[in-house]
Structure formats: structure tokens, C-alpha cells
């Protein structure tokens, strides 16, 4: 399968073809993108073709982006190179860094039909008269400085904390509003320093996003567009990369800071914030079906399940899970549960109904409850997907039911169940297995009888102790009884003999 469908949007695209914002994000986190981004890339392609060379040749990613930010894309990618008069206008339009002003299909259609397109409105960029030297660059714009700072976070944080940024805003850029916002952020971070270990990083992220609200979400060494989080995470999981930082950014609600600062519409913000809040709640739960695995499958709808059991089968549809597990039973380690963290997360993310209670059971500390939770989850899946007979999987699951059978106290009940399991395994019906093992009537009866047996055992023990106490050698009761017997025997003999004498006399 080609990169067009098998890799995240823009993943393999060189930075020069990306807009400034998407170029700043990591390869996996550039987001889904839009038609406007594709038109920009078309403009860059045309500039390459007309110049017959790469205009960004020899420039690093940082140099290219800083150049695009300080001069805008057109001068950087075309400059003073002589283009044909016909192509100059559309390339300038397509390379416009302002998405609102960038040419779209309408403008291109007008141009191709020979009509004149109205020139784009240029928005004046705020520049400082006093440049700031940071990262081998003299920065006059907050945007370029923010990008350089995001690449050198340690020295950037010091710069924020010593008040240099606040000072630059108030004196260099004469923007007291931003200076106040930066000062407030520093003050809030100071207050949180003792309780939040990542307060410094969060301060830096907030200030960088304040300085460049269009830039991607930035936290520690990761940068991603808000719609590119899932792909960025997926790429890092594939690379065995820095997943923790991505998870941390969600837990620390960094996308929330981005939305708070950005000028996105309230409804879009609400949807996105709800989306990130859901991811956060998944990350805050440690059990199977939650965590980073759940985020992966929630954020990338077509991502194949990465469970080691079925990773080679490349299962991306929930309908295929049970037949695949059924097929891999011959090769898998059947002493382990067929539902691991990835499978649980995949099922939870793709399942139409809620499986929260089964996931909670899967995450229980009690191994028996975990097994029952696994069985219930598979039964739900078999019912919802109409998976039919699953001989291999039922055999696999049936072999793991030992601890569940031991939930019954009665040995005879256990033996009965153990004798019944092979028959159910041959039928391949997981729900029948669940009915057998988790029958509430049988469980209640077993519990009642167990308590009665416990009481009987205790009473027998009490009686044994009482007998031992009363009939043991030298016990007071035994001595008393035996002496009484001796006395009564003597009296009876006396009565007998005297009666005999009287009767004889």
C-alpha cells in the first residue's frame, strides 16, 4: 500500500512544500491539512519547476522556516528569480502565507480563464526596532523568536523567567498587553512550581503559544497540530519513540492552552476540547482498554491493531478481531489471555456500545475477575459481530477458565463444570461458556451451601473440644460421673442384699 494511505498526511513531504505552521510541526503531527495547504504545495512545486532548482537548497529546516516567517514564502522561494509574467501572479497567490488570502480554486479558475484576480491584502507584521539575539538569529518578530525558543527550550525558559521576553514586548514591541500576559503566565507558573513538577515546561509552552498563536501545540520536544495528535502519536509508537511526552502534553492539557489562546471559533473549540478531554480521561486510567493504546485507536480510525498476537494479520476492522484470534490460536501462547492491552483498547475504541464495565473488570487486581472480564468482552463482541462458531478461540479461553471455576467452593460443582467445558469448547460458543461459569443461581446456591458447611464444621469443632474437655483423663466431669456411678452401684447392691435378707427372713 502506498504512502498516500499508509502514512500520516504530509509525513514524507519536505518542509519546503509545507506552510509555515505545518512545517513547524513534527512530520507525524502536521495534521490532516486542507485544500489550501495543497495549493500552497502546488505553488512551491511550480516555483521549483520554473526555476529548475530547489530554492531552499542548503537551508536547514530552522533557517527555511525563519526565512519564510521573516520575509514570507514568496521572496524566499522565488526571490528575484525571473519567472514568466503569466506564472508570477498565481505563484504569488498560491504562496501567500495568510491562509485567508491564499488563492483557491476560484482564483485559479479566474486566472486560467484570463480574468484578473484582485491582489491580496497584506497585513502589516509587528516588528521590533530592537532585535533580540537568540539561537544565532537576530529576531525582530515574536513569531520567529518563538520558533527559535521552541527549539532551545532550556535557555528559552530562562529568558522568560528573567523577564527578558516581557521587557522586549513592553519596550521593543511596545505591546503592553502581551507583556502583561507573559508576566501573568510567569506569576501563575511560580505559584504552581511547588505542586506541578512540569510548571516550567507548561509556562514555556504557554508563552510560546502566546507569541505565535498559529504555531502548532508545543510541549517539551514535541510539536503537533491539534488535528495531528493521533498521527504524531501513531508515528512515535511505530518508532518506539517518545510516547510519554505526547501523553504528558494531553494530561497537562496543553492543547487546552492552545485553544484558549487561538482565535478558533467557539464551537470548533468545544468539539476539540471535548475530544482532548476524552483522551485525557483515557490516559488517566491505567487498566487495559485505556492509556496511550486507547488514544492511538481513538485518534487514528484506520489504525491496525498492534497487539503482538495479531500484529502480523494487520487487523484494522473490529469485525475481523474474533476470526483472527480464532485463527491464531494454533500459534499463540494459549496460557496468556487473548485480550491484551492493545486488543482491549482497539475493541473499546471501535466498539459501538459501551464496554466500560468489562474494561474495569479487565483492570481489576483480582486475576479471576480479569479473566471473567475478558470472557464477557469477547462474548459481547461475538454477539455484536455475529461472529458465529469460534472453535479455536473458545478452546483458548476455555483453557484459561481454571481460576473462574475455582470461584465455586463446591468440589463436586467444579468437577461438573470441568466436565462440561470440553463440550462447550466443541460448540465454539463463548456465551454458552460464560453462562456456565457465571450462572448467578448456581453461584448463590454454592455460596449458601458453603456457609452452611462452614457453620457445620465450626459446630463439630466446638463439640469435639467440649467432649475432649469433659471426658479427658482426670477431667472433673468424668471423675464426678464415675464416682456417682460407684456410689449409686453401692446403694443399689445394699438395697438388693437387704431386700433379699428381708424376703428370706
Amino acid at each position: 500500500m502506498g504512502e498516500f494511505v499508509s502514512s500520516p498526511p504530509g509525513f514524507d513531504q519536505p518542509v519546503v512544500f509545507e506552510t509555515i505552521e505545518r512545517g513547524m510541526a513534527s512530520e507525524g503531527g502536521r495534521g490532516i491539512g486542507s485544500i489550501s495547504d495543497d495549493i500552497y504545495a502546488l505553488g512551491v512545486t511550480l516555483a521549483h519547476l520554473l526555476q529548475r532548482q530547489n530554492p531552499a537548497r542548503g537551508k536547514s529546516k530552522e533557517q527555511l522556516l525563519l526565512a519564510k516567517m521573516s520575509l514570507s514564502s514568496y521572496p524566499v522561494l522565488v526571490g528575484k528569480a525571473i519567472l514568466t509574467a503569466t506564472m508570477l501572479e498565481p505563484i504569488r497567490g498560491m504562496l501567500n502565507d495568510d491562509e485567508e488570502e491564499r488563492w483557491g480554486f476560484d482564483e485559479l479558475d479566474m486566472w486560467s480563464s484570463g480574468r484578473r484576480v484582485a491582489p491580496a491584502q497584506t497585513t502589516p507584521v509587528q516588528k521590533s526596532q530592537r532585535p533580540v539575539r537568540f539561537g544565532d538569529f537576530d529576531h525582530t518578530q515574536p513569531r520567529t523568536l518563538a520558533y527559535s525558543m521552541s527549539e532551545r527550550r532550556e535557555s528559552a525558559l530562562k529568558m522568560i523567567q528573567d523577564g527578558s521576553i516581557e521587557q522586549w514586548y513592553s519596550r521593543g514591541l511596545e505591546n503592553s498587553e502581551m507583556a502583561t500576559a507573559v508576566a501573568a503566565a510567569v506569576e501563575a507558573a511560580d505559584a504552581l512550581k511547588e505542586t506541578v513538577p512540569e510548571a516550567g515546561e507548561l509556562l514555556l509552552s504557554r508563552v510560546l503559544m502566546l507569541m505565535d498563536p498559529k504555531a502548532p501545540v508545543t510541549y517539551k520536544n514535541v510539536k503537533y497540530m491539534t488535528d495531528g495528535f493521533g498521527y504524531a502519536l501513531g508515528v512515535e509508537i511505530l518508532r518506539d519513540g517518545d510516547i510519554k511526552t505526547y501523553a504528558e502534553s494531553i494530561v497537562n492539557e496543553v492543547p487546552g492552552i492552545w485553544f484558549e489562546i487561538s482565535d478558533e471559533s467557539a464551537s470548533a473549540q468545544f468539539t476539540e476540547l471535548e475530544y482532548f478531554a476524552r483522551l485525557r480521561s483515557h490516559l488517566q486510567k491505567a487498566g487495559p482498554g485505556f492509556g496511550i493504546e486507547r488514544c492511538l485507536y481513538e485518534t487514528i480510525p484506520g489504525h491496525a491493531c498492534r497487539s503482538p498476537l495479531i500484529i502480523k494479520e494487520n487487523v484494522s476492522e473490529i469485525e475481523d478481531i474474533l476470526p483472527t484470534l480464532d485463527a491464531v490460536e494454533k500459534f499463540a501462547d494459549t496460557k496468556k489471555s487473548p485480550v491484551d492491552r492493545h486488543l482491549a483498547a482497539f475493541i473499546a475504541a471501535r466498539s459501538e456500545g459501551s464496554v466500560e464495565s468489562q474494561l474495569n473488570e479487565l483492570g481489576d487486581l483480582d486475576g479471576t475477575i480479569q479473566i471473567l472480564g475478558m470472557l464477557r468482552l469477547l462474548v459481547i463482541l461475538q454477539d455484536r459481530m455475529n461472529a458465529g462458531t469460534l472453535l479455536g478461540l473458545t478452546k483458548w479461553v476455555g483453557g484459561l477458565m481454571g481460576p473462574v471455576i475455582k470461584l465455586y467452593h463446591s468440589r463436586s460443582t467444579r468437577r461438573d463444570i470441568e466436565a462440561e467445558v470440553p463440550r462447550i469448547v466443541r460448540s465454539g460458543d463463548l456465551s454458552e461458556l460464560l453462562d456456565l461459569l457465571d450462572d448467578p443461581v448456581s453461584k448463590k446456591e454454592d455460596q449458601t451451601k458453603y456457609l452452611a458447611a462452614l457453620e457445620e464444621f465450626t459446630e463439630a469443632e466446638e463439640e469435639v473440644l467440649q467432649i475432649e474437655e469433659n471426658t479427658g483423663p482426670g477431667s472433673e466431669a468424668a471423675n464426678r460421673t464415675s464416682n456417682q456411678v460407684a456410689a449409686v452401684t453401692s446403694i443399689l447392691i445394699m438395697i438388693f442384699i437387704i431386700s433379699m435378707i428381708i424376703m428370706a427372713g
Partner: protein
């Protein structure tokens, strides 16, 4: 300030003492009447029942079982002599004649000795019988316990009833009153030894 004597309480305490002394006095009076009315019978009984008197003195147990044993047999031994006395002249000289007869005396004292023998021989036998019955009952109970363990597992031993799934025992007894279960299944085979 001196406390006034409780005048009402004094007669109440004195009453039982007076009653007891009256009772003793009555006994002495009756004994005196019996001694004066039947001196020959009293002599024969006193000398014939000497082993019983000895048993009464040396028996320190509250219920005086040995006195009962010795006394019963002793009375059995004295009874023929008493019949002889009452059926004959029934005077002091006849009583002395009986007492001085070695054969009669042997019968009385041998009967008392038999009473002692009964008191020494019967309790161990009864103890043994009791132990056998107890062993049988214990064996029955242990057998039932083994059956319960076979059906319900070892944890039935280790778990006192009121800890089992939070269900309290039907008797409502405190846990301290519940006997400690045997530490091992092997303990169930133990039966108390019979007394030798």
C-alpha cells in the same frame, strides 16, 4: 461523731445462728432419746459402722462419694446383726455378745472393705467407658469434617464462620467464643487417648 448501732440489723444476723444452734440442740436431744431408748442398737450400730465413720472423716470431697460406697456396704454388713439383735433378747449384753463375735464383726468390716473396693474399682471402668463413647463420637464428627473438607476444600478449616464473606454466624456468638480450628487436616485424625 459516733455512728449509732444498727438496731434493726442485729436481730436479723443473730437469727440464723440461733436457728442453727436450735437445730443442733434438737439433734442432740433426739440422739440422747435414742441412746436412752435403744442403747443396745446404738452400741451395735456405732461399733459396726466404725469404717463408715472413718470414711466420713477422711473423705474430703464435697459430695462424699466414698462415704456413700463404704456406708452402703457397711450397712449391708451390719443389717444381719441388727436383725439378730432385734429378733433376739434385744439388750446390751446381747449387743456386746454380737460385737464380740469375730464372725459377725468380720462380716460387717468385710462388707465395708468391699465398699472401698467398689469405690476404687468402678470409677476407672466408668472413665474408660466414657472415653470409648467419646472417641466414637469424636470419630464421627471428624469423619463428617473430613467429608466437608473433601467437598468444600481446606479453607473451610482456616476461615472462622463470621469471616466468611462477611456473613455472621447464625448463633451470633463472638469470634472469641468460637474454638480455634485445627491447624491442619492431619489434626482431624487425632482422638483423645482413653484414660488408663
Amino acid at each position: 461523731m459516733a455512728r449509732e448501732p444498727n438496731l434493726e440489723q442485729a436481730p436479723r444476723q443473730a437469727a440464723p445462728v440461733k436457728k442453727a444452734s436450735m437445730k443442733s440442740l434438737l439433734w442432740v436431744f433426739m440422739l440422747a432419746i435414742v441412746i436412752f431408748a435403744f442403747p443396745e442398737s446404738v452400741i451395735l450400730l456405732f461399733l459396726g459402722l466404725l469404717p463408715t465413720v472413718v470414711a466420713l472423716i477422711i473423705d474430703k470431697s464435697p459430695k462424699k462419694y466414698s462415704t456413700f460406697c463404704v456406708g452402703s456396704m457397711n450397712i449391708t454388713g451390719v443389717f444381719p446383726a441388727m436383725l439378730e439383735l432385734w429378733a433376739g433378747q434385744n439388750n446390751i449384753s446381747h449387743a456386746i455378745e454380737i460385737i464380740t463375735n469375730v464372725f459377725d464383726l468380720i462380716v460387717m468390716y468385710a462388707a465395708a472393705t468391699f465398699g472401698w473396693l467398689l469405690f476404687m474399682a468402678i470409677p476407672p471402668v466408668v472413665n474408660g467407658l466414657l472415653a470409648v463413647v467419646a472417641q466414637h463420637r469424636i470419630a464421627q464428627l471428624r469423619s463428617r469434617q473430613r467429608e466437608l473438607i473433601k467437598e468444600w476444600g481446606d479453607d473451610i478449616i482456616a476461615r472462622p464462620l463470621d469471616q466468611a464473606d462477611g456473613v455472621k454466624s447464625a448463633s451470633g456468638q463472638a469470634q472469641s467464643q468460637t474454638p480455634a480450628p485445627p491447624s491442619d487436616i492431619e489434626d482431624l485424625d487425632e482422638v483423645p487417648p482413653a484414660p488408663s
